[in-house]
């Protein structure tokens, strides 16, 4: 059966794509953020994942409001990035893993998650940037991927409780996959930030740090908060932390921290990074 080697949660601010393209990792603005990654690179070199299941949210590239799914899963042979309209560089394409995709789809629909299945799918910066951050020397085909997209764009959103249950069901699916593959899970987005309205620029360091702490030790803690609570506490876009919650669900009951980092600001965002291993 497949093995889940661990999970990594990290922000996906579009702006990071430009910093990578321009090699600004040592620039004073960027260094405190990029310094969070070498220890995770070293860990990834050790655990050698074959497949990444990437929990993220689309920002209006693959999905528009005419067909906006709560939970969708890619089941394509490969995934391409494309023009998102705001001038960030597009990256290379990503190999899919259709065996795992369909195995997850079968298992999750059996477990009463009402998925949207995508046999063709564009992936946006929320998928591409974390992979580029984590595997800076990625060759085409060096890792296979399964995109898992959650709606954090059009209200109403799935609750933190539902996302945690979704993650746990994904764990069950991966662990029952008849394969010797090693699977890493990513959760992208957040942490606190708000782009729109009179509260633009809102950041909540205290909550973010507590959230990161509890995500490790007590994942159900976040379920006490409703979506309006989370928006209030972390901003209208901070609610992307739902992708972290789902990722955490995939990692099972107990985890230990591989490495964590937290830096304010990247663009308008509190940039958190948290790598975990199941124990």
């Amino acid at each position: 059966m497949a093995k889940i080697v661990g999970g990594i949660c990290t922000t996906h601010v579009p702006y990071i794509g430009r910093a990578i393209a321009k090699n600004l990792q040592q620039d004073p603005y960027w260094k405190p953020f990029f310094d969070g990654f070498p220890p995770i690179h070293a860990w990834l070199d050790q655990v050698k994942p074959d497949v990444a299941v990437v929990v993220y949210n689309d920002h209006g590239l693959n999905f528009f409001l005419d067909k906006m799914p709560t939970f969708s899963i890619g089941a394509a042979p490969e995934y391409h990035h494309a023009d998102e309209g705001w001038g960030i560089p597009t990256t290379g394409s990503f190999m899919g893993d259709q065996d795992l995709s369909w195995h997850m789809i079968d298992s999750l629909i059996e477990d009463e998650f009402d998925l949207t299945t995508c046999q063709e799918m564009l992936v946006d910066h929320a998928f591409t940037i974390p992979i580029d951050l984590l595997l800076p020397n990625r060759q085409a085909g060096s890792i296979r991927t399964v995109p898992v997209c959650q709606n954090t764009v059009q209200f109403p959103l799935p609750s933190a409780k539902r996302c945690l249950a979704f993650g746990r069901a994904i764990r069950k699916a991966i662990e029952s996959w008849d394969s010797d593959a090693r699977v890493v899970v990513l959760g992208t987005g957040g942490l606190s930030h708000q782009l729109d309205g009179e509260r633009a620029g809102f950041i909540n360091k205290k909550f973010d740090l507590e959230f990161m702490d509890k995500l490790v030790s007590e994942p159900d803690w976040v379920s006490q908060y409703s979506i309006p609570d989370i928006v209030e506490l972390t901003g209208t876009q901070g609610v992307e932390l739902l992708n972290w919650v789902t990722c955490r669900g995939v990692l099972g009951d107990k985890v230990k921290i591989v490495h964590s980092n937290y830096h304010i600001p990247i663009s308008n965002t509190a940039a958190g990074t948290l790598a975990m291993e199941s124990i």
Binding site: F64, D83, G85, W86, G197, G201, I203, K205, P265
Partner: protein, 99 residues
């Protein structure tokens, strides 16, 4: 809000294509009409007022694509919405990391 902003958001979604961005820039008002924006939406777009676009039902993620056309970054947009200079807005972000 969702239903109110549909036409505006659909127009912004079209900005994923360079061809559409150029068509918009060539004649913004005509492009708004093509997507049947109402007066409130059209006025907000033509005056590039983000708070007005939000009030007219715009979704932040789609509006950002319009900002991209004018090379506005998220600090420009944040400053405009909160009525401060870009420098003040950025200083506020740095400040949030201190405490």
């Amino acid at each position: 809000m969702a239903r109110k902003g549909y036409a505006l958001n659909k127009m912004c979604y079209s900005f994923n294509s360079e061809e559409n961005r150029q068509e918009f820039l060539a004649d913004p008002a005509a492009y708004c009409d093509k997507f049947a924006l109402n007066d409130e939406q059209k006025k907000a777009v033509l005056s590039l007022q983000v708070l007005d676009m939000l009030a007219a039902g715009g979704n932040a993620y789609f509006i950002a694509k319009l900002g991209g056309i004018y090379k506005l970054d998220m600090q420009d947009v944040g400053a405009q919405q909160t009525g401060v200079t870009k420098e003040e807005f950025m200083a506020k972000l740095v400040e949030a990391g201190r405490n």
